[in-house]
Structure formats: C-alpha cells, structure tokens
C-alpha cells in the first residue's frame, strides 16, 4: 500500500531548452485512483515514466511510500506498468501468460500458482486459465493482460493510455473493468489518458495538465463545475464549454454581462464575487456549458432576463441528445437540448442561459474569478 508524493518535480530532456515538466506537485493518497489528462505532448507520459523510473528526474523529490525513490532502479520501486501494446503470447495458455513474468523473476512455483489463481479469481477468468488467447474475447484478453501486472502484487499500478488501441465499445467496457479492479485490489493507481471522458469516468481525482504544468487537480465534479481557468473549462466536457468575449458592466444597482447583441443580468447572489474579483468594467470571457443553455418554455418564462435570441446554424442529432450550433451576433455556440424538439437550419431559436452555472474568466489571464456556484453533487456524463 503506498502513497506517491511528487514534490517540485522537473524534467528537462537533454538538449531541450526548457523543461517538459515544470514544478509538478501532487500528493497521491494510498489506494487512490488518479488520472493524468491533457492534450498530446503536455508531459503525461514523461511524468509517469519518472514515477516508474524509466526517466531520470531533473529536479525535485519523488516518494513512493516512505521512501525517496529518485535514485532507485525501476525494478526496485515496487510498481507495475501496464503497456498498451503488450499483447498476449499466442502459444501460451492464459495461465502461462500470467505466470510468465514471475517465472522470469524465478519466483517459486507454488507462489506463482497461488498468485495466478488469486488474480484469476479477482478478474473472473479462473475458468479460462487453460485456454489459448485465440479462444478469448477481446475483453477477456484485456483482463489477462491486466492479470499479468496484478500477479506482481505491486504497490502502485501505472497505466499509460492502456485502452487507446481498443475499439470504442471495448474501451467503454474496459474503463468499468479497471474501475472495478481498483476497488477490489485497493491499490494506488495512476492512469494516463488524453481522453477527458475517460478521465472523468475513471478518476477519484483528475489532474489536468498543459505544457508540463498542472492546471487543476481535483475530483471530476469539481474540475467540471469549477474549472480554474479557460483551458480546463474548454478541455473538460464534450461538447466543449462555449466562450463569449464581453465585459462586466454596472448599470444602476445591477451587473450585466454584455457582448454584441447579448446582455445578461447577473444573479444578485454573486455580486460579492464580482466586486471582490475586480473585473467590473473589464474585458472578460463568459463560459457556459452546452447543457446550461435551455430551450424549454418553462425556463424562459421563469428567467426572461437570460434569453438569447439566436440563429440555428447546424443541427446535430446524437440520438439521446441534440446539439444545436447557434449564433448570436458574431458569437457562435453549441446548446445541448431535448432531441424531441424540432429545429431547422436558419430558423431563430430562443435559448435561456442558466446563470447559476455560468463561469467568468479574466480575459487577460484566462483565470476563473470563481463565479460559478460551488458544485452540488450531480450525475456526470
């Protein structure tokens, strides 16, 4: 059982002019499932490889358990890494495949047997141990591949995009399997993906990275409902959050968000935040998620001050939902609405903004002013 602590970790590759990973600080609790997520090239793999010991740490301290492991060989760090392309050996049975790594390490036969049987039980593949990989379904194969790592009984599992080669259906299935596995094993897991949906559905905590810097590390709920900056706001969630450039204007006692052809009266409850953040009269970016734009009549009659008069530009049917690509003045955005409603391209549509869910970012720093109300527990995705 192990906590993984990263303290001011830097990585500069030889020959590179600036660090790839910068001042990375994260305290990963024992038994926690943490996901590193971010666009390609942001340094996720580099960070994971430093934890594994496959990459030297340029600066900072890395602890696994109580031990500082900067200079400990990968084999001695008590970790297992799951590699996406490590397929099963076709000539070997499931049992042999799972036992392979232990045999190489000259673990005694009885011990190997015990561990393989145990792992097989956890993975529900005990009845498949004599089969060859060819006789397995895609999902079963993936479980055997996980079994190979489990039998090592590591303190920490490291996984770098382990599902990216799978087809969409199997990927969704395996996400759930890995979550379940984590619950059964109760072992610390660090998981890397560029796919925000995967991150949101799997992590106890997700760590959003960009250009080698942690942007935000928190529960999926918090990252989704209170993104710290525009990058996190735009990266997490699909379709992405809509951004509208404008400014905060005081008018009488009230505060408004104004942009060409848009004027939204902001809720009184949040005036305190507005005043203390010092954005009044300044350029800001308003962020609103597609599901926080409403086309229901009820909503519009209740909150007439929040209605945007828009033009439908594209209608995207997604089955269980409908994405409306709309424009107001020079701004375009996407609304996620009820798929039973009928829309035609070119027609006008009224959309009400749920002002309790909007985000306001300083246009210059792109940092959130903390306008969004704290998260209520809600079901995600």
């Amino acid at each position: 059982m192990a906590r993984v602590l990263l303290e001011h970790i830097y990585k500069t590759y030889s020959g590179a002019s600036e660090p790839t990973v910068k001042d990375f600080n994260l305290d990963i609790q024992d038994k926690e499932f943490v996901v590193f997520v971010g666009p390609s090239g942001c340094g996720k793999t580099t960070t994971l490889r430093m934890i594994a010991g496959l990459e030297d740490i340029t600066d900072g301290n890395l602890y696994i358990g109580e031990r500082r492991v900067n200079d400990v060989a990968p084999k001695d760090r008590d970790i297992a890494m799951v590699f996406q392309n490590y397929a099963l050996y076709p000539h070997m049975s499931v049992y042999q495949n799972m036992a392979f790594g232990l045999k190489l390490r000259k673990v005694p036969k009885a011990e190997i047997d015990k561990r393989v049987q145990e792992a097989a039980k956890i993975l529900d593949i005990a009845h498949l141990l004599d089969r060859k990989p060819k006789a397995l379904s895609g999902g079963q194969r993936q479980r055997v591949a996980l079994g190979r790592a489990i039998v090592r009984e590591p303190q920490v599992f490291l996984m770098d995009e382990p599902l990216s080669n799978l087809d969409a259906k199997l990927r969704v299935q395996m996400r759930a399997e890995i979550r379940k596995l984590h619950q059964r094993l109760q072992t610390t897991m660090i998981y890397v993906t560029h796919d925000q949906t995967e991150a949101m559905t799997m992590g106890d905590r997700i760590c959003v990275m960009r250009d080698g810097i942690i942007q935000q590390a928190d529960t999926p709920q918090v990252v989704y409902s209170q993104p710290k900056n525009m990058f996190v706001a735009g990266f997490i969630g699909s379709p992405a959050m809509n951004f509208i450039r404008g400014e905060i204007v005081a008018d009488g006692d009230a505060f408004y968000f104004r942009a060409p052809a848009i004027s939204l009266r902001l809720p009184e409850g949040r005036y305190g935040v507005l005043k203390s953040s010092g954005v009044i009269g300044k350029p800001v970016v308003l962020g609103v998620r597609p599901e926080d734009l409403h086309d229901e009549e009820v909503f519009m009659t209740t909150y007439p001050d929040t209605v945007l008069q828009s033009q439908v530009e594209v209608v995207e049917h997604m089955g269980s939902e409908l994405y409306l690509h709309c424009s107001v003045g020079e701004n375009t955005f996407i609304a996620r609405v009820n798929p039973r409603h009928m829309y035609h391209v070119g027609s006008s549509v009224k959309l009400a903004v749920d002002l309790n869910k909007i985000h306001i970012f300083d246009a210059e720093t792109e940092v959130s002013i903390g306008f969004a109300a704290p998260a209520k527990q809600e079901a995600l995705v």
Partner: protein, 367 residues
C-alpha cells in the same frame, strides 16, 4: 595455447616447411589481418595487430598462401565468435558511423562488399531480418543487472518466436536477434490480423517490433527500443543489414520512437539526410510567402498539419482527432494561412508543412 598453432603446425608439416612467430614490422603498414607480404626474402603472414608468422624459406604459389590465410581466417572468426561476437562487433562499429556512412553501406557503395564470416549466423536460414533490442541501463549499471535484463529479453524472444539466434553486446546494451522469413510466417498474433494492403510480413514485423518493445519494457522494466533491419537475402548482406538497423535506430531515436522497421517511414529518411544548411534554406522557403518568421506562426501548427494529413485533409475528421470543434479547427487553419501563406486544406501546401513540421524536432534536438 594459441588458437592458430594446431592448424599451422598441421599445415607446415604437410609441406615440410619452417615457421616462426615474429613481431609485425611497424615499417610495413596497411596489410590487413591474414594478408601476406614479402620482406627480406621471406613471406610474412599477419596474424593480428602486432604479430606475424614468418616463413624463412618457403617459396610457394600464391594459391597455397591464400589457402593458408583462408584457413586461419576461418579459425579466427570461430575463435572471435566464442568470445568476441562478430555480428555484435560489426553493429557496434555501425554505431560509430555517420548517417552518410551508414547510407553508403546500406546502398552497397562503400567497399564493404568483402564477405565476412558471421559465425553461427551464417548457418541460419535466409532470407530473414536482424532485430536489435536496445535499452539504457538506468540506475543499475552493474554488469550482472545488464546480463539479467538480456536474459529476460531472450526469454521474451523465445516466448514469441519459439527459438531464435541471438547475440548479446553488453556495451549497448543490445541484443541482436535473427528472425528467418519462414519463421515469421509461422508466428501467430494475438488478436486479429489488421486489414493490410501490400506485404503481410511488413505489417507483421511492425507489430512484432512494437510487441517486443512493450514486452521487454514490462518484464525487464527497462526502456527497451526495438529496431528491425531490411530483409537479408544472404549472409553477404549482413553488414548492410546492420547498417540499415542502425539507420532505423537513429531515425527512431530522433523522434522518440520505441520501435521501428526499416522502410516504415521513407519521408523521415529524406528529412534525416539534410543538415543545418538545408534547414536554413527550408526555413527561408517556408517563410517566403507570408514574410512571417516561424516563431510567429500560431502555436500548434505542427499538430494541426499532422492531424490534417492523417485525416486525408478532411477537416471534420482532423477536428475529431484533435478533440476540438470543427469551427475551431477551421479558424486555426485560417490563422495558419494568414501567418504562413500555406493552406493545409490544399494537398501541396499540407505536404510542405508536414515535411517542415517533421524536420523541426531534429533541428531542435541538434541545436
């Protein structure tokens, strides 16, 4: 006991001639090992760097002398293999070569055509491929650790191929593996064969390289990289193949790949030939259209270009692969067009940008 003594005595008795071991005269340069020269009325056969065998009064035909030299050379190679490993040594030599030298060897225009003895590799069934598994021994530089890692790599080879010729060079460290074309056909793959146009064996090689790298990484916990040579039709081609292996490794290293097969990426090879002068000219060409320096091009133009090429210039597909909205992508394309004069929706422009994008990491790395 010297390895050559038995054979030499046998030979000289048969001819009834005398011989003696002497130092190789420094005044006589440029005679290869097992070459002859005539000095002071006697024949000298060069044994190695510092020694020679002198035949004081043996006047014989050139053919006989060649035969003796050939016998000793054979013995020497056998000897070297038991300790010195000829393939590994030759590969180690390739590592010291420049890109241009390697190119010459692969092209067969380098004068290395002389057949060599490759020890037990020569007895393998050709055609086939040489595979190099290379890694860096981090933290644990002890010889024993490196040998253990090599052992794990060998077991992985055995698990995948059933058997295999291997030669280990602890200095890489590097494990060289020979894989016969015939064996390749017999290798089953876990999972479904990919739909593949063209040569089945090539896609298999790619998959094997990837799988090998992943397997050695996972089992030995080392940063394994796996490279596959060009096909080797006969033992005469082994040296060229080793050079092709090293070329593949060089290109792979430059782009942080974990595996690669010779022929996988011809464009990369073209880009690798150039040096800093070529880069400067390319840069001038790229910035000629819009007169904006490269550093003022929008961030992410490389990723954008690569995504467009991979999506066959289909913006919707490229947008999906980048996880951005199509309109966002179109806006980026416009911005890139404004600052570069290249429109990645056009094939020719896209290719130019693509090559430029791929040329750049190498430059960044070398400056």
């Amino acid at each position: 006991m010297d390895w050559w003594r038995d054979a030499l005595e046998h030979w000289t008795k048969a001819f009834g001639i005398e011989w003696m071991l002497v130092e190789w005269p420094n005044s006589v340069p440029d005679v290869p090992r097992f070459g002859w020269c005539n000095r002071d009325e006697a024949w000298l056969l060069r044994l190695d760097e510092g020694r020679a065998i002198r035949f004081p009064n043996w006047d014989t035909s050139e053919q006989v002398r060649c035969a003796l030299a050939w016998t000793l050379r054979q013995l020497a190679h056998e000897q070297r293999f038991s300790g010195g490993r000829p393939v590994g040594q030759a590969y180690a030599g390739c590592r010291d070569m420049t890109f241009a030298e390697l190119t010459a060897v692969v092209a067969g225009v380098d004068g290395h055509g002389e057949p060599r003895d490759w020890g037990t590799l020569a007895q393998k069934k050709f055609p086939g491929y040489l595979i190099a598994i290379e890694w860096t021994a981090k933290h644990a530089n002890s010889e024993r650790q490196v040998a253990e890692d090599a052992d794990i790599a060998r077991h992985v080879i055995e698990a995948m191929f059933g058997h295999g010729w291997t030669e280990f060079d602890a200095n890489g460290p590097c494990l060289l593996v020979f894989l016969a074309q015939d064996d390749l056909a017999g290798i089953e793959r876990d999972g479904d064969e990919p739909a593949c146009v063209g040569d089945q064996s090539f896609s298999k090689l790619l998959a094997i390289a990837e799988q090998l790298a992943a397997a050695v990484r996972a089992e030995a916990f080392v940063d394994a990289k796996v490279w596959v040579s060009m096909p080797i039709v006969s033992p005469h081609m082994v040296f060229s193949a080793l050079a092709s292996l090293q070329l593949t490794a060089r290109m792979g290293d430059r782009y942080n790949r974990t595996h690669g097969v010779f022929g996988e990426d011809p464009a990369l090879y073209l880009l690798s030939i150039g040096g800093s002068a070529q880069w400067k000219v390319l840069q001038a060409m790229l910035t000629a259209r819009a007169a904006q320096p490269l550093r003022d091009w929008p961030d992410g133009w490389r990723e954008l270009t690569e995504a467009m090429i991979k999506a066959n210039l289909n913006a919707s597909e490229a947008a999906r692969s980048l996880y951005v909205h199509r309109n966002t992508l179109l806006a980026r394309i416009e911005r890139l067009y404004e600052s570069s004069g290249f429109d990645v929706r056009r094939g020719e422009d896209a290719i130019a940008l693509y090559l430029a994008a791929r040329f750049m990491p190498q430059q960044v790395a070398s400056t």
